[in-house]
Symmetry: C2
DNA sequence: CCGTATCCATAGCGATACTG
DNA sequence: CAGTATCGCTATGGATACGG
């Protein structure tokens, strides 16, 4: 059912709730949870680095991510692991070598993320251009 | 915010040529900028509400976004406007009626975002299941 | 009805130092 | 090499109140 305008005066809460279109409009919806992850500073970077079956060690990841701290790298990897998107493989050598890779689930995220990346690369430049050449032109 | 102008003081990427994939691995890359937007709490919600040529008034948006404050709604809309993703149309009635809709550019973001949303709806449940039934199974 | 301003709590994240 | 712990800053964003 499509939502209805609740102009019934009382801003408390109507009897029937959560009748929006899909979700996203609830605090605990899957999309919000994903976006929170995706919006975090290093998640997407890691996923894209591990895409296509790449398996990288902690240090290797770190080297490719200029500016990341151990803390945040570890933290983000743990999150990805907890979410079942990445896998951690420890080689019990000395010193230990820890390898990270995507799970099959994690790999399915790569497509959507790459699309977003492509969009950004294609359009963020245009956005920047808009912001500078703001001379009274109307956006279409 | 300490936005650095890339005049001459490039802090130097020693040795590493950072140009491995595309970018994303620089602080000012388009993808990071987009992800920062997309990761913000209300942006995606607004874009999806305005998708498909929908034009909504401030109050209408607000009613469909339970929990949003005027401040954040205004702020997010301004961002979208600044980025050229949304348009603001004021009807100078009394009291004024302000309508928001997507620009053509904004509309092109809808596809990628919907794909992400679809992914989330299809897979975040599985992730949640993993997190609960953590009985010693190995991720694939 | 729409927007702005102020105040404040918290979460994200970077710097640094220490351990096995 | 990989990970943990502590500290402190700042950005995000919620509550509230005021103004056109």
């Amino acid at each position: 059912m499509t939502e209805k305008d609740g102009t019934s005066g009382t801003p408390g809460h109507p009897g029937v709730t959560t009748a929006r279109h899909g979700d996203l409009f609830d605090a605990d919806c899957p999309t919000r949870l994903l976006l929170d992850r995706v919006g975090s500073k290093w998640t997407v970077m890691i996923v894209l680095l591990l895409a296509d079956g790449e398996e990288l060690r902690f240090g290797a990841l770190r080297r490719r991510m200029p500016g990341v701290s151990q803390k945040m790298l570890t933290h983000t990897l743990r999150q990805l692991e907890d979410d079942g998107l990445a896998r951690r493989r420890v080689e019990p050598t000395s010193p230990p070598a820890v390898h990270y890779s995507l799970t099959v689930l994690g790999d399915t995220l790569v497509g959507p993320l790459r699309e977003l990346k492509r969009w950004a690369e294609a359009n963020m430049g245009a956005i920047d251009a808009l912001r500078t050449s703001r001379s009274g032109s109307v956006p279409e």
